[in-house]
């Protein structure tokens, strides 16, 4: 492992006013043969220690691409980051060398992926894969690393960890595999954990187990958690604050209680009205008409305008900026006041 000069690496502690992680006006494009795909168009959000930020959006909204940019695991090319900053403890990760970046990745900022089966290597035992973190990053010997792996498997509550450490991924159930992924991601005590749809492939009872586990680990270590999901139910359960993404932009940013009570963007409002709930027998579901935008050919002005019931002429010509409603909330809609009041036909 190469030595990196200490001044480029963000120091621990001494946060001041700077949040733990701040994404600032991030843009990501994919230059493909069919044209330029504008996947992320100016995303801004921040995360503090111990906090859970939920990034909510449908497929193609740019939520995963933003996370991959933070981790530095985008394939570049075709991906290009034309502008923006990702500040981790005040240091812009995008300006770091690849060596310095790999010091952050996995150790300080870690990630859990959606599909645990395809993220694990089928030909190595899970113990080997978990202990790899210690061998590579901490320079431990095989035996010592394996002992640490067993400890970690205990910590993520895999029963009979000592007996199962030499099993292969296919011998575990979906929920257990996701626990193994979580064990690998928290191995080096990261300060930020990004969980990209961690429970989407799992059954509800297993989902409840995994979300509980993540919450406990977060309480133990005070890490910041970015939860990327499309599930409004999961978000309501665990998030402190929410960033709603649509067409590569954040359309609404708010503490969790505000957003469910009084959404300030027509897209958020539509989403909340379109989901069936287990605790009530609803009437007709409200359906947001139309389809999510084509990222190769984004609508002019506000990306949501072709589907929006509040649309006026200005929405077609001018993209609304994400502007503050109150100290903690912001919305990217020209008519957020009307949406908030519910004054609409």
């Amino acid at each position: 492992m190469k030595k990196t000069s200490p001044e480029v690496l963000p120091a621990e502690g001494g946060l001041g006013n700077e949040p733990l992680l701040a994404v600032d006006n991030l843009h990501v494009e994919f230059r493909t043969r069919a044209g330029v795909v504008h996947a992320v168009n100016g995303v801004t959000y921040s995360l503090n220690p111990g906090e859970t930020l939920a990034v909510l959006g449908e497929s193609g909204s740019g939520k995963s691409v933003t996370a991959q940019a933070i981790m530095g695991i985008l394939d570049m090319p075709p991906a290009v980051i034309p502008k923006g900053e990702i500040r981790f403890r005040g240091t812009d990760l995008l300006k770091l060398s690849e060596d310095a970046r790999s010091q952050v990745r996995g150790q300080r900022i870690a990630m859990v992926f959606q599909d645990a089966l395809s993220s694990l290597n089928p030909v190595f035992t899970v113990g080997w894969q978990i202990s790899e973190m210690f061998r590579v990053h901490r320079g431990m010997g095989k035996k010592e690393a394996l002992t640490k792996a067993v400890e970690l498997m205990d910590r993520v509550r895999i029963p009979a960890a000592r007996q199962r450490v030499n099993d292969y991924p296919h011998q575990f159930s979906g929920g257990m595999r996701q626990r193994i992924m979580i064990a690998m991601s928290i191995a080096l005590d990261p300060e930020v954990l990004i969980a990209d749809e961690p429970t989407t492939a799992l059954d509800v009872t297993v989902q409840a187990q995994i979300m509980e586990l993540l919450a406990e680990l977060q309480r133990e270590s005070n890490m910041g958690l970015i939860l990327i999901t499309h599930d409004l139910g999961v978000v309501a359960d665990v998030a402190d604050k929410i960033a709603v993404m649509y067409g590569g932009r954040i359309v609404e940013n708010a503490p969790v209680h505000d957003i469910y009570k009084t959404p300030a963007h027509p897209y958020t409002k539509g989403l909340l009205e379109s989901i069936p709930r287990v605790d009530q027998k609803g009437q007709d579901l409200y359906a947001i008409k139309g389809m999510p935008p084509n990222l190769l050919d984004m609508p002019t002005g506000c990306a949501f305008h072709p589907r929006c019931p509040y649309r006026q002429d200005i929405c077609v010509t001018e993209a609304p900026a994400l502007s503050g409603i109150s100290g903690t909330r912001s919305s990217a809609c020209h008519y957020w006041r009307e949406v908030l009041d519910g004054t609409h036909e």
């Binding site: 449908e58 497929s59 029963p159 159930s173 979906g174 929920g175 257990m176 059954d203 509800v204 009872t205 297993v206 989902q207 409840a208 187990q209 509980e212 499309h230 599930d231 409004l232 139910g233 999961v234 978000v235 309501a236 359960d237 998030a239 969790v256 209680h257 469910y260 009570k261 539509g270 989403l271 909340l272 379109s274 989901i275 069936p276 709930r277 287990v278 605790d279 027998k281 609803g282 007709d284 579901l285 409200y286 359906a287 947001i288 008409k289 389809m291 999510p292």
Partner: protein, 338 residues
């Protein structure tokens, strides 16, 4: 929708075991995966029966057996009083006109080399008596209109449509033969949230329009609550609870149903600290070797000796108004706070 007296679909003691074999030259059966193991229910005209359960509980196998895509090991499936499970040839073909299926994945269930017109019109090639050759194009265009697609797109290919639109194509194909029963196997789980609502509303509108009966199989309990009139909960190949949606969701009696419902996240952060959570430990046992007696007993907090010895039958239990399969059935609302 008030169900009429005569059930349109009767399922009795349906069993489907898949043999487990050992040996390459001489195959010996060493056991069986008990995917569906004694399921009985009725479905009435114009009614929706939701089947919920986690992966591996046998709900998709149940769908295949109902469609006679798989032959049951034992038991019977009767459509309007006639047995489909053992029907063959022309008789089976005629019966299948009455029961159609909408698949889960709109990306792989449509042939990419066929136009939408050919896909939706294919049932007419098999059942030529339904639409004379000259009428087919017009019929397909009508179907496209019914499911909310542009009839002029009849010559397009599946890849030119979005996921939600493809699911509408799958639904149009299911409607082509004017069946009375449609089996929907996870019809919205592959779709985005904002598109899900469109497809659910479409299914409800079609039910009113054509008086369809749905078997609606899903793992998403919120979606099932919304669409179903009655709900069956499956665990390891058996129905553990069956009742009206209000009974099952507001007064669940089986511990498994209670755990399942309590695990469903509610999209409302209000009072989230107060919500009751029953976190089940471990994973479901293998359907090749289910526990004796009650199959849920290995994860159940109420389990007693009797649960290992005697299998609880699906029946109405004291203090409850609907059927459940638990020796200690007791209604307990886990979904609502306070």
């Amino acid at each position: 929708m008030a169900p009429t007296s005569e059930p349109i679909l009767e399922v009795r003691d349906l069993v489907k075991h898949f043999p487990l074999t050992q040996g390459i030259v001489v195959k010996r059966q060493i056991g069986a995966i008990k995917a569906v193991d004694g399921v009985s229910f009725d479905l009435h005209r114009g009614e929706t029966l939701g089947i919920v359960g986690e992966s591996g509980c046998g709900k998709s196998t149940l769908a295949k057996v109902l469609m006679a895509l798989e032959r049951p090991t034992s038991g019977s499936v009767k459509i309007k009083g006639r047995e489909i499970a053992h029907a063959r040839g022309g008789e089976l073909k005629r019966m299948r006109r009455n029961i159609q299926m909408v698949m889960q994945d709109p990306y792989t269930s449509l042939n990419p080399r066929m136009t939408v017109g050919d896909i939706i019109g294919e049932p007419y090639d098999i059942h030529t008596e339904v639409a004379p050759r000259g009428d087919r194009r017009k019929k397909v265009q009508e179907l496209l209109e019914v499911v909310g697609l542009n009839p002029d797109h009849i010559n397009r290919y599946p890849h030119q449509f979005s996921g939600g639109q493809r699911q509408r194509i799958g639904i149009a194909r299911g409607l082509a033969l004017q069946p009375e029963i449609i089996v929907c196997d996870e019809p919205v789980s592959a779709l985005d949230v904002s598109i899900q609502a469109q497809v659910i509303n479409l299914l409800e509108r079609l039910q009113d329009e054509f008086n369809l009966a749905y078997i609606f199989i899903a793992h998403d309990l919120s979606v099932v609550r919304h669409i179903a009139d009655r709900v069956g909960v499956m665990y390891l190949g058996k129905l553990v609870e069956l009742g009206k949606d209000t009974e099952v969701y507001d007064k669940p009696a089986h511990p498994y149903t209670q755990a399942l419902l309590s695990a469903v996240p509610v999209p409302d952060p209000e009072g989230r600290e107060l919500r009751e959570r029953i976190i089940l430990q471990g994973d479901p046992p293998s359907p090749a070797n289910p526990p004796s007696g009650c199959r849920f007993r290995t994860r159940c907090w109420k389990a007693q000796e009797i649960c290992a010895e005697e299998e609880p039958l699906l029946q109405i239990r004291p203090g409850t108004a609907h059927e459940s399969a638990c020796h200690f059935a007791e209604t307990h609302d886990v979904v609502h706070i306070g």
